[in-house]
Symmetry: C2
Subunit: 378 residues, 2 copies
């Protein structure tokens, strides 16, 4: 059941049915979409399970079936940090998302219609367990490494809690042991922009193109702003103004008058381009479910964090954080590293001075490459 | 023509008519609302002109006529940092705002109807000039000190450019010599939330209560988030959850279902309370005009900044910045201090380690009191 342009490289793992969710609901005949690169070895001991941020699909890297560059194209492949000559790399689309995994935009087999808001409440732990089931569907009971950036980092931490013994190693990149109020308030506001758009229709819009585009545009722009840093944008955009032609073009894209309160600066054009791409492909209800799951995660729900990490059965861990990250603060990264250390897990903490903020893992690749390559080869 | 609850303490200064605006438009019979405290001395040499941030009125401090606490209540008064036993303190409502000064919500005398979007484009320099005219209406040609926080800091810097010789001293608090792309992008998004709310009706809503409340709510919440810091909120709210009763109450205030994507955390309740207060009193078109004026300001429009400051005729200056300020970065404060120094103006730069972000001037009063008191008394 291919649902995306890159469907040709996507495979699907059925989840045990019913698949019970942490907050009490359950799914019938659910599935997880994934892509993989490299060869699984005979004893299935060389697998890396990669979770994603809130919005990407499982297409982390190009392949013969789908030559489009993936979201971590330069990090996965022969000789790269996630070296596919050695590792079998598997990236999953999060449960609850809209790129092949079951989510609010999927058809509920019981009704033959999209779940929409009848989809049960989703948690970060559910995403972790669903990803683990995808690995198990290939006969992999123990991963070499579970890893992910952003939401994916949170999912990797949750994985350690809900699948003890499921991975030898953990790599958490700009994740969190529990969402904090600054990030919660930003996500709360993103959700408010979506649900207060009349076109949301309590979740009953026809499809993303006929849905709450204005709310989604605001949500995505707010995301884009907080994924970066003031210093990076100062250097990149300064006070550069749009030309009159540029103003008109951006205003038209925004269905707004070029005069008055329309765009005037280059940075506004950049934000609009980011939002325009996103609004076309991402389902608003899926966004709401994933966003709320991020807020809800708290490792302490599983017990005292150091005890939780002791039970996880990890042999080593790498925690990467970025000093300029507004959303998943360096403090949270230090907290993850400290709890792992205290649990007796040999842990490296890479505190990176990138200026690109939360998104640095997509941009400042040399630093991430070095930290991850060296850890995986150790 | 009292327009606000605290009107009894408000006075009005007529502006020269027509009052020409920097971007080309003009106003007839415009006025500036102000309040004052302390006594103007015989040679009119003890006046402090105080500009405000984007949203406050001229009511910076209580008085016999209006005992309601003002927005800087603990900073202005007998024996306080702005010591009214010594200084005559005058706070102006910005031109373009909606608390007595002429703005988009005011009646255009030529038509007898509100200006709305027919109000000419506003600039920070216009706010500075209008404030200066209010002082001149009292016979004050040279202020002892011009000062302001946030937008008011920007206005104070603009004052130095457009009214050379108009003040002996300058105090810029968390201002900017020119808006940078991170702050521009946040304000652009706030404006987008307002103008994409169908109730905005291209500016033709009846009044704020029947206007783009949902867009204004989003704009204000985004403001509130970026006026503070992640660290302050971590300490203040943590992951504290709303009780079921609290959830219902906040959801009701938001006209939202308490289930689903309604509020769950204390921080969401705080944001809602902030927004609710604001939405009731602030005119959306005024917000749009002031917000765009902030983006548009660039001291370099007046020439090389050091040369501009040389011409300003300042005897000394104090620049205060907050390290945790996301919106008006400490770098911008250092830049203002440096240009003043290079212009030969003896300048103090107070780089404050407050954790309250941009709003620290309203919260961390001891640090601001000390810096301002010592400067004013020097």
């Amino acid at each position: 059941m291919p649902e995306t342009p890159e469907a040709s490289a996507v495979r699907f793992a059925p989840l045990p049915s019913p698949f019970r969710l942490r907050k009490g609901g359950w799914l019938q005949q659910a599935q997880v979409a994934y892509e993989c690169w490299g060869e699984l070895n005979a004893d299935r001991s060389n697998a890396i399970l990669l979770f994603t941020g809130l919005s990407p699909s499982a297409h982390a890297r190009s392949s013969a079936e789908n030559p489009e560059p993936g979201w971590w194209e330069k990090m996965i492949g022969p000789g790269l940090a996630l070296d596919t000559d050695r590792w079998f790399v598997m990236c999953v689309n999060s449960l609850g998302s809209c790129f092949g995994s079951t989510g609010p935009a999927s058809i509920n087999p019981a009704t033959g219609r999209p779940y929409r808001l009848s989809f049960p409440e989703l948690s970060v732990e559910d995403i972790a367990r669903a990803g683990y089931e995808a690995a198990r569907s290939l006969g992999i009971e123990k991963l070499d490494t579970v890893m992910g950036p952003s939401l994916g980092g949170m999912v990797a931490v949750a994985f350690a809690a809900v699948a003890p013994g499921g991975a030898r190693r953990l790599v958490s990149i700009s994740g969190s042991p529990g969402a904090l109020p600054f990030a919660i308030s930003l996500r709360s506001l993103q959700r408010e922009a979506i649900v207060s758009d009349p076109a949301w229709q309590s979740g009953n819009y026809l499809d993303p193109l006929h849905g709450p585009q204005s709310g989604m545009r605001i949500a995505r722009k707010l995301g884009t702003i907080t994924y970066r840093s003031a210093e990076e944008w100062r250097l990149r955009f300064g006070r550069n103004s749009l030309t009159p032609t540029g103003r008109r073009a951006v205003a038209q894209a925004m269905k707004r008058s070029p005069e008055g309160f329309g765009p005037r600066f280059d940075v506004e054009s950049y934000l609009e381009a980011q939002a325009e791409r996103f609004v076309r492909v991402f389902d608003p209800n899926c966004y709401l479910y994933l966003s709320r799951a991020l807020d809800g995660f708290d490792l302490r729900d599983h017990g005292e964090p150091v005890e939780v990490m002791k039970r996880a059965g990890l042999e080593s861990a790498l925690v990467i954080g970025v000093e300029s990250d507004l959303l998943f603060t360096i403090r949270e990264q230090a907290e993850i590293a400290a709890m792992l250390e205290q649990a007796g897990v040999p842990t490296r903490f890479a505190r990176l001075p990138c200026i690109e903020g939360h998104d640095a893992f997509l941009v400042d690749l040399p630093r991430f490459d070095a930290a991850i390559r060296s850890f995986l080869n150790s």
